[in-house]
């Protein structure tokens, strides 16, 4: 049984059909990548997995670790191990990054029946993760994402991910806006979380990322469904010949 199984998902946004029968199964221990033209529904899929409201789920289901994911509220999904690294992380003035991180970590610990994290332990943990991801220490004192550069926001997403240690993470264009060094650091952060229990769905426009986060499978999303699946060579073919070859009558 796959860790997450998406079956025949049909989703409309603002009256427009976006996902039209998407099916995808991701096994624990694997990394899948999705590539696809702008506006084909990659972020829609990410948001539906994470539980954002405003999407009309017309058909289909998502089973995560044996549970009906679509029946769970967003916060419960996160505590169960779902994580979305946002394409556009939102700025939250007045809420310090560290207070936010602590609240999120404790929410997860409480759900797992653990006590709240000790203040010293928290600081040590965050410091270590910041160092590994090249995140400046003082960034966590600032309000969440406020005034962070594009690249800093993406690093902060990966920082959150590595602190929350999800079982299934969706990275929605986490590579966009990263310089080449940051790309390596962030990829290393993701790779460090890989393990037999967890899985990743990496959304990207660039084959380059897949040199660092090597996927087990690559899927092409077009017209609201997966039109091709294969190994890494699919991404290379795409880079060479573009999407035209995959466009099917929707």
């Amino acid at each position: 049984m796959a860790l997450i199984e998406i079956e025949d998902l049909h989703v409309a946004v603002a009256g427009k059909d976006v996902l039209k029968g998407l099916s995808l199964a991701i096994e624990a221990g694997t990394v899948h990548a999705i590539m696809g033209p702008n506006g084909t529904g990659k972020s829609t899929l990410s948001n539906v997995i994470a539980g954002r409201e405003g999407y009309d789920i017309k058909r289909g289901r998502i089973v995560f670790a044996g549970r009906d994911l679509l029946a769970m509220p967003a916060d419960e999904r996160a505590r169960a191990g779902i994580f979305l690294a946002f394409q556009y992380p939102v700025e939250i003035p007045g809420v310090s990054t560290s207070a936010f991180l602590k609240t999120a970590i404790n929410a997860k610990r409480r759900a797992a029946g653990l006590s709240e994290i000790d203040a010293m332990e928290f600081l040590k943990l965050v410091k270590a993760k910041c160092k590994a991801l090249g995140v400046a220490d003082d960034m966590i004192k600032r309000p969440l994402n406020v005034g962070f550069s594009g690249g800093e926001k993406k690093r902060a997403e990966v920082l959150q991910m590595s602190l929350l240690e999800p079982r299934f993470a969706v990275l929605d264009e986490t590579d966009s806006g990263l310089d080449i060094d940051a790309l390596k650091v962030v990829s290393a952060g993701v790779n460090a979380l890989r393990g037999p229990e967890s899985a990743f769905l990496v959304i990207t426009h660039y084959q380059r990322l897949l040199n660092y986060i090597v996927p087990d499978q690559v899927h092409i999303l077009s017209g609201g469904r997966i039109v091709a699946s294969g190994g890494r060579e699919l991404a290379e073919r795409l880079e060479r010949d573009g999407y035209a070859q995959f466009q099917t009558a929707a």
Binding site: A50, G51, R52, E53, G54, P73, A74, D75, R77, A78, R79, F83, L84, F86, P89, V90, I92, P93, G94, V95, A99, F100, T103, A104, A107, K108, A111, P143, Q160, L164
Partner: protein, 445 residues
């Protein structure tokens, strides 16, 4: 009964002869100018009464409920006992404390270090202090301000704080409202003079004893000398049954600087006015504020800045949240005189509805008569941002906690602009305490 008849322009009020008759002898009897001031206040009160709904500046705050209360002068209530400062008021490191109970300085509750800076107004009036005379009623004249008219009518209690250039002066002033069996009113007057080059910071806390009906009617006149700096941080947390009609009036000489922060976290009916007059080039005023209202609380902040001279800046940022059936009002008037070129005046008010019950009004009023100026105002009301909420939920934070974090963040964002660390932390702490009781546990009332 000396009450003026109620009309839409005025509200009959309980501060006529019955009230005045109970006042007893007022200080400064040997100083004709003191009595002159009081008489001017009384005359303004008699001719206009308290403002009614047809008075434009008062259309959002009705004094009808207040006018029904048969107040007695708090000084004559002999059943009031205040033995300590409510624990709600934090100690501020480096800020010696002065305590006023119903406007009367209580040296026994104040710190020795603070007593050195303050003279009770009563003593200054009796002695006819010329420095006080030069300021009193000049910065907060009775004309145009019913709050000042009411306060000045019964001028007696309060404080005189004077600071010279040299070591910065820091003070915490706690005003405690307390009534006995009968509802009581008090009218403290604070006169704060910062001489040229002085640096003064005051943190003022308005609190009351719980479950009591009182009216606090404080007026503060602040005179800022050339190049002097005054910071005035006001923490308004009156009891839920209390009325508060307050005015802070500021006059800035050339290159004077004034920073004001208004934190309002409670009270039955509150109206606080802040008036600033730039009377010399290069003045700077920052007025920021945060309010949080619940139940049937009413809070209005009304600011009036007179840019009468060139090259002055003013900036105002106010953030508020409202729950229950509360009512929030922000009125911001900026007047730029014809010769006040190079004025930079900015004003921004944003408020969040925590549920569908409250009513929030914002009225910016810009009167600009100069052409080479920068003036901007912004106003927005709305609900908690959905994208922000989803972001927190997506990290496993439950909806109640997520909302509380966002509401706190919304207010803390403006509190974080407060320039003095110890006061900023205290105010941020008060905001989180408010939210803990109102937003998280048991939901918003």
């Amino acid at each position: 009964m000396a009450s003026v008849l109620s009309s839409s322009r005025s509200t009959a009020h309980p501060f006529g002869e019955r009230y005045a008759g109970r006042m007893g002898p007022l200080p400064g009897a040997s100083q004709p100018w003191v009595d002159g001031l009081r008489q001017a206040g009384r005359a303004a009160l008699t001719s206009s009464g308290l403002p009614g709904p047809k008075v434009e500046a008062w259309r959002y705050t009705s004094l009808a409920e207040l006018a029904k209360v048969a107040f007695i002068p708090a000084a004559t209530a002999d059943d009031v006992e205040v033995a300590s400062v409510p624990s709600r008021v934090p100690r501020l490191d480096g800020f010696p404390r002065l305590v006023l109970v119903n406007g009367v300085l209580r040296r026994d509750l104040s710190d020795v270090a603070a007593n050195a800076f303050a003279v009770p107004l009563r003593d200054a009036l009796n002695g006819g202090d010329p420095a006080v005379r030069a300021v009193l009623g000049k910065i907060a004249p009775v004309s145009g301000s019913p709050i000042s008219a009411l306060n000045t009518s019964f001028l007696s209690e309060g404080l005189v704080v004077s600071a010279q250039s040299g070591a910065p002066v820091r003070l915490q002033i706690v005003t405690i409202g307390a009534a006995g069996a009968e509802p009581a009113a008090f009218h403290p007057r604070i006169v704060l003079t910062a001489s040229d080059g002085a640096d003064v910071t005051v943190a003022v806390h308005h609190v009351g004893l719980p479950g009591q009906s009182y009216l606090s009617n404080p007026v503060t006149e602040i005179s800022i000398g050339r190049g002097a700096t005054v910071r005035n941080f006001v923490d308004l947390a009156e009891d839920g049954d209390a009325f508060h009609l307050g005015l802070t009036a500021v006059n800035l000489a050339a290159n004077g600087s004034y920073e004001d922060f208004r934190l309002a976290l409670g009270g039955g009916l509150i109206r606080q006015d802040v008036t600033a007059i730039f009377s010399g080039d290069g003045g700077r005023v920052t007025l920021n504020g945060a309010y949080a209202l619940a139940k049937t609380e009413h809070h209005e902040l009304a600011t009036t800045f007179f840019h009468d001279v060139p090259n002055c800046n003013s900036e105002q940022i106010v953030r508020g949240v409202a729950a229950g059936r509360s009512r929030a009002v922000f009125q911001g008037r900026i007047r730029v005189a014809p010769n006040a070129q190079k004025t930079d005046a900015r004003q921004n008010h944003k408020a969040l509805f925590l549920d569908a019950g409250p009513k929030i009004d914002c009225k910016p009023e810009l009167e600009i008569f100069a052409d080479d100026v920068q003036c901007a105002h912004g106003a927005a009301t709305g609900e908690i941002d959905h994208d922000q909420l989803f972001y927190l939920l997506s990290r496993g934070i439950d909806p109640d906690t997520a909302r509380a974090l966002l509401v706190a963040g919304f207010l803390v964002d403006v509190v974080s602009r407060l320039s003095i660390d110890v006061v900023r932390e205290a105010f941020a702490g008060a905001v989180s305490a408010w939210l803990k009781t109102r937003v998280v546990s048991g939901g918003v009332p």
